[in-house]
């Protein structure tokens, strides 16, 4: 979550963060971008030219940040519940 990135870079970062444990397919990633952009949780803009092509950069919107907070809170609650259920396993 540091700075605006373009699609391929995000997929590489995800693989690096998780030590290659989670390699998201770019097709999945771009489909998610479409959905998030439609719900106005992220925005995209054309970056400067590099490698002969203009890259499309993605950035989170204010609405996206609020949604992210909400989702993180929900996930924490769900995780706590699951931890209770998994006790002693």
């Amino acid at each position: 979550m540091d700075g605006d990135k373009y699609g391929y870079q995000i997929s590489k970062d995800i693989a690096a963060w998780t030590d290659d444990a989670f390699q998201i397919k770019e097709a999945t990633l771009y489909a998610v971008f479409q959905r998030l952009e439609r719900r106005e949780l992220i925005e995209s803009y054309q970056g400067e030219k590099s490698h002969g092509g203009k890259r499309k950069y993605y950035t989170i919107t204010t609405l996206g940040k609020a949604y992210w907070q909400e989702a993180a809170k929900e996930w924490q609650e769900a995780k706590q519940l699951i931890d209770i259920f998994m006790e002693g396993v």
Binding site: Y8, K25, E26, Q34, R38, H51, G53
Partner: protein, 149 residues
């Protein structure tokens, strides 16, 4: 790298050539090319690297499906339903005008030829079924439109 462009173009051939699709295709192509370039840096031959980039990218149908989802609700729902609703209003208007004309003719014939016997009321009841049924269809269409909002 021509192979990547050809592949993406082929996959998106069934979608209309809009500006949105063009940027989406460009983005996918750039991403695949960069991926292939990375594989080549890792020591793969170009042919190999391109094939692996295409396979590793995943199924493009996923992106297409997501894209069509955001297009269709606007186009299909809006246009088709509106057309139907417009027809029901027109049908109602036509049935009212038509039945008024027929009933008018009946009244004229009745009064002109048999002024002492009033019989035009009976066929009038039968004719009135036409606008009544059209009014029912019209009201149903209107209620559906309200529910869709």
């Amino acid at each position: 790298m021509q192979k990547i462009r050809a592949y993406v173009e082929e996959q998106f051939a069934d979608l209309p050539e809009t500006e949105q699709i063009a940027t989406l295709k460009e983005e996918i192509m750039d991403s695949m090319e960069e991926k292939a370039a990375d594989f080549m840096l890792g020591g793969k031959a170009e042919e190999d690297a391109i094939n692996k980039a295409i396979v590793d990218f995943g199924n493009l149908a996923e992106i297409k499906k997501e894209f069509q989802l955001q297009q269709e609700p606007k186009q299909k729902d809006g246009k088709l339903k509106k057309q139907k609703e417009d027809m029901s209003t027109l049908n109602l208007g036509f049935s009212i005008c038509g039945s008024v004309l027929i009933i008018g003719l009946l009244i004229f014939v009745n009064i002109y030829y048999t002024p002492h016997e009033i019989w035009f009321v009976f066929p009038t009841f039968a004719i009135l079924w036409w606008p009544v049924s059209m009014a029912f269809v019209w009201m149903k269409a209107r209620r559906r439109k309200v529910m869709h909002r």
